[in-house]
């Protein structure tokens, strides 16, 4: 436990009808979703920055104060955060980049913290079939206008994503005035786990309420920083490929300290008996985190 370096979580989620992550307009009056083209088919995805936004929102919902909305101190700079990881969980977990203007002609400087939390996009296994939701906007009718029609790309399917947390870099290092106490570090990582367990994005949820919380997780506490389940959790019509997951666990047994597989069992057809519930899987991960930081 003491020599742990990272926690890797690969998860699956299932949407019945969703329009998860908006993309650039491809045609007038059609709201597009982000898609990857592979051969002649397209696969919807939610980008990493979209997941990060969802995690931040969830942390705020859970009562954590976020460090956001600070204008850059140089002209044309991107807006940034307060860049204070000592006090703000999101500056600690998600990193930041800010620039300072130099005084009286002197060169400026940059503050940065490389995010110890790495987030892959959430990519669908199921192709986009061209489904559109048709809508009519009557808002302007009373003012003498005509109803406006619009369409929204929608999709249904199983999505896969991965999150890797560099445990040895949480609560210390770049940007910190003083390292956090171990129990504070554990508290922050466990808050992140809760946010992942209850993952929910705000985009287009008023019309397409979609639940993107994990319905299947493969997680491991690792001696090295390697997202071992990245491409080895595969969902097909027949269910999840457990052979591949077992092979991965065997391949990396020297690097794995502990692992857990959890699922909402009724959502997949072939879940083995020894797979625990999603709640139990996250409880196990929380125990790893508490034990790890206790030993530090």
């Amino acid at each position: 436990m003491k020599d742990a370096k990272a926690l890797t979580i690969t998860y699956l989620t299932k949407t019945s009808i969703s329009s998860l992550n908006g993309s650039d307009k491809e045609a007038d009056n059609i709201s597009s979703i982000k898609k990857i083209t592979r051969g002649v088919e397209q696969f919807p995805y939610g980008s990493s920055q979209w997941i990060r936004r969802a995690l931040r929102e969830q942390l705020a919902t859970m009562g954590w104060e976020l460090s956001e909305g600070v204008a850059a101190k140089i002209e044309k700079g991107a807006a940034t955060t307060k860049q204070n990881p000592d006090d703000f969980i999101d500056d600690d977990l998600f990193g930041f980049m800010g620039t300072e203007k130099g005084e009286e002609g002197a060169k400026g400087s940059a503050n940065k913290r490389t995010s110890p939390v790495r987030v892959s996009p959430l990519i669908s296994f199921d192709r986009y079939s061209g489904d559109l939701d048709f809508g009519t906007n009557y808002m302007g009718v009373e003012a003498g206008g005509t109803p406006n029609i619009f369409e929204t790309e929608i999709h249904s399917g199983i999505y896969r994503g991965t999150i890797l947390v560099e445990l040895d870099r949480v609560g210390c290092g770049e940007g910190f005035k003083k390292d956090l106490e171990p129990d504070k570090k554990a508290e922050r990582v466990n808050a992140l786990l809760k946010a992942i367990k209850n993952l929910w994005s705000t985009g287009r949820q008023t019309r397409f309420l979609a639940d993107i919380s994990p319905k299947f997780v493969a997680a491991a506490l690792m001696r090295v920083k390697n997202p071992i389940f990245l491409e080895t959790v595969i969902a097909t019509e027949k269910g999840i490929d457990f052979g591949l997951i077992q092979e991965t666990l065997k391949d990396y047994q020297q690097e794995i300290i502990d692992s857990v597989i959890g699922a909402k069992k009724e959502m997949f057809p072939n879940i083995p008996e020894d797979v625990v519930s999603i709640g139990e899987a996250f409880k196990t991960m929380e125990r790893w985190i508490s034990d790890y930081y206790k030993m530090k």
């Binding site: 650039d24 940065k112 987030v119 991965t162």
Partner: protein, 235 residues
Amino acid sequence: MYYFFLEAYAPTASFRLPEAHTFQQTLPLPPVTTITGMMGAAVGLSLEEALEFAKANKVHFGVMGTHSGVFRDLWKYEKIKASETISAVLVREFLYDLSLILVFAAEDEKAVQYIREAFTNPKYALTAGNSDDLLKVKYISPAKEQEIQPYYRFSYTVLAGDHGSNYESDIKIEELPLLQNIYMPRVYLLPTDFEFNGNERRVRKRQLFTFVDVPVKLKKPINGLLIGDKAVGLL
């Protein structure tokens, strides 16, 4: 020459062409500075230190890889214009489903062993371009010795220099999948060294590189190593 290679996989990757801003096109494979940065992440060095390490130990790199597709990701961000915060967008190009082989080579066996050790237990999580493009290391070969030799045939790799007029196509069209995109070798002028001044960095040196896609046969060979049955040029 001593060397080792590693096999890795990334669901998404983006190797931005330097100096591209609102449309950030990706290169098909990581350039030398990105591979140097990956080595730095493994060892625990900043880019400046990693470049110095590579120079001091005369480390050479090699790269091969394929991907399943390219997509464009829309980013929304807030920027400052005339003291006002306004919303802006940029488009970044990504590779999808990248399988990568990276080669690290040097005359000094200790330097090669040191880099290899670092990749078995990297200081920072390894990524393929962006900090969120998670990279999984699937295999790390033992460090071995191999004599550098001239090779003619290359595919899905990067060669040092401009080989725009030094190749003929080596494609067996009947063996290519029907829906595969085919690119002739593309030549880019890319940074290979930077001047650092605190947190500021400026390009100090640029070199031409040829990104080879489908198989080519060079008219004049270049030196490289054989990894499995594929030749890789050293950068």
